[in-house]
């Protein structure tokens, strides 16, 4: 029962939201619903942490035939982090989304994104996973183009076409896999694959197609081009929501598929995944250095940081996977908060061009601290959560005899620091140039000029979580190790779902 709540709650809110679309207090109802979602996620998380795994057979059909929802330690953790991010962005949007967007269903579609994301985390059936992807994509397409400004429409077309193509790859892979294996339930497919001594080569094309689908969704090199072309176009809070949830779902699914199916053909997949990881880390961070737009720099860094997570997966040791899970959670929080700060800068100044901005530390010291925490957590400075994540991953890389990759990860961390220092100097430290200020043309009216208390609260809460995640890392890391152990042992998952 509790397993279905993270899907059921956003769905019922979406239906309910039609009724108070034009009601003035709708944003507070949305915040309350997001808070309720955090509570149910905590319930799901604590129960999963106690019992290890939970499952729900939809309509009481037994496992290989019906649709199964499975919550293990990894997915429950992701649902919890996603709910926290969603609460922060919903609270943030109270003052940062304009009245028109709210009247035309901003909250409805943002809960649609949440439903799709939670569904993808909990799905135990590959076709069901595809349907949740589509729910999430459909809602995100609408949020991306919501408001219909010219640059938003441009970004949406790019985002939409490339994500649709990724769905086609994924569905074609599912079709081929079903033709070969004759099942859609993940546990059933895994148990059927385990019966082979070596993976039959004719199954690999299906998995290659599925891998390409996930790689496009997760913005891995060389499939990342949609992300920096579209993420800087919608209102900042939408970017924050997307950066926290969407690409991470692709990576989550990749980890899930790797731990259930692909590990059996390890000698083929490991070099591929590690190669993609290294390329993503390096190319993402180097392309970011040439940018001069706040959100574009952060968008390119998403690619680089997704590379870190995939590197942890590619090592495929318990330490590597635990590092990947911790890093994924840390990155969701820090990245979202960095975009929330970008939203506040836009709210105040009407532009995000680094060359024009300046003097923000003097006027808004609190927000400078929020940015400092999230940006330097991304760069991996102790005692913030990013340090723990990078430390775990690099340690795992050295232990797994991939010294070169560990060194590249360190080197990329240095470049990340460079980009973050660049933003810090240009936006927060450099004195504001009054000549340039006059030349500035206000672009869109994304924000309502009102008391930004809700924005401060949500961004401050996220910053607090990032600091706490770094200082009290030990229980979280222990939990990640437990989650990684159960991922490394797919027999547990198979037995639990099928019996």
């Amino acid at each position: 029962m509790i397993v279905s709540l993270p899907i059921f709650l956003p769905l019922s809110f979406m239906i309910f939201a039609f009724l108070f679309r034009h009601y003035r207090g709708r944003e507070y109802i949305a915040v309350a619903a997001a808070f309720l979602n955090v509570i149910t996620s905590i319930l799901l998380f604590s129960q999963t942490a106690r019992e290890g795994m939970l499952k729900l057979q939809m309509g009481d059909w037994p496992a290989p035939y019906g649709i199964t929802l499975v919550s293990d330690r990894f997915s429950a953790f992701m649902v919890l982090i996603a709910s926290l991010i969603f609460l922060a962005t919903t609270a943030y949007s109270v003052r940062s989304v304009d009245w028109n967007r709210k009247s035309f269903g901003y909250y409805l579609f943002s809960f649609g994104v949440l439903m799709g994301v939670n569904g993808s985390f909990l799905a135990g059936d590959i076709f069901n996973l595809y349907v949740w992807f589509e729910v999430m994509l459909m809602a995100s397409f609408i949020l991306m183009s919501h408001g219909g400004e010219r640059q938003q429409l441009e970004g949406s077309i790019k985002y939409l076409i490339l994500n649709l193509i990724s769905s086609f790859f994924f569905v074609a892979g599912i079709g081929l896999l079903y033709g070969k294996i004759g099942s859609l339930n993940m546990a059933d497919i895994a148990s059927k694959l385990m019966k082979y001594e070596t993976m039959p080569p004719e199954i690999n094309p299906a998995f290659i197609l599925i891998f390409v689908g996930f790689a496009i969704k997760g913005a891995l090199v060389p499939f990342f081009f949609w992300l920096p072309a579209s993420y800087h176009t919608p209102p900042p809070v939408v970017t924050a929501l997307f950066s926290g949830l969407l690409t991470k779902v692709g990576i989550y699914s990749l980890i899930r598929f790797y731990s259930l199916f692909l590990y059996q053909h390890h000698e083929f997949w490991q070099p591929l995944i590690l190669g993609v990881a290294v390329l993503s880390m390096v190319i993402g961070v180097i392309t970011a250095t040439s940018q001069f737009e706040f959100r574009k720099i952060l968008s390119f860094h998403i690619i680089s940081q997704v590379g870190y997570v995939v590197m942890g997966l590619g090592l495929y040791t318990i330490a590597g996977l635990a590092g990947a899970i911790y890093f994924l959670a840390h990155n969701m929080l820090s990245k979202t908060n960095a975009f929330l700060v970008a939203g506040y800068v836009y709210h105040q100044k009407g532009t995000l061009n680094l060359k024009i901005l300046g003097g923000f530390y003097k006027k808004h010291p609190l927000w400078a601290i929020f940015f400092f925490i999230s940006a330097f957590s991304l760069a991996g400075l102790p005692p913030l959560s990013g340090f723990v994540g990078k430390f775990l991953l690099i340690k795992a890389g050295i232990e797994a005899d991939h010294l070169g990759i560990a060194l590249i990860a360190l080197f990329v961390g240095f470049f990340t620091l460079f980009s973050m220092v660049k933003i810090w100097i240009e936006v927060f430290w450099k004195p504001e140039d009054n000549m340039k200020k006059l030349k500035r043309i206000p672009q869109q009216n994304w924000s309502i000029q009102q008391n930004p208390l809700w924005m401060t609260l949500s961004s401050g809460g996220m910053a607090l979580l990032i600091v706490l995640g770094g200082i009290f890392a030990s229980p979280i890391v222990d939990y990640c190790y437990l989650a990684a152990e159960s991922l490394m042992n797919p027999q547990l998952y198979v037995d639990f779902v099928l019996n």
Binding site: V171, G175, G179
Partner: protein, 117 residues
């Protein structure tokens, strides 16, 4: 039969990719729709094409005979995929319309206003 359909799917993919690479946004959208249908046909093919009975449990019996019926699941999957495809087609056409209203162009090369100069 499978062989013919496989070649047909290949042709559809070729058409779809060709249309995706054109400059006009309308052709791009047509390409996406063709690709989505080609993908649906792949799922259809995964159940196998045979001359068999319809997938019903015969009257007076508790179970269907797996020897004579065809796997009905791929068809259910296609149904889902077609519905999703329909929704996406409606949305993408509306987006195209809105974009044309704003900019008055069908040209994909005009989509570079938000890129780095």
């Amino acid at each position: 039969m499978e062989f013919i359909i496989a070649i047909f799917i290949g042709l559809l993919y070729a058409c779809g990719v060709y249309l995706l690479l054109r400059r006009s946004i309308v052709k791009l959208i047509l390409g996406v729709l063709i690709l989505s249908n080609a993908t649906n046909l792949i799922i259809f093919l995964s159940g196998g094409i045979q001359r068999n009975e319809i997938s019903f449990i015969p009257e007076g019996s508790e179970v269907a005979n797996p020897e004579v019926i065809l796997d009905p699941l791929p068809q259910a999957l296609i149904l889902t995929a077609i519905v999703i495809g329909l929704g996406i087609a409606a949305y993408i056409l509306a987006l195209k319309y809105k974009y044309f209203e704003k900019t008055g162009t069908h040209d994909l090369d005009q989509l570079s206003k938000t890129d780095q100069k």
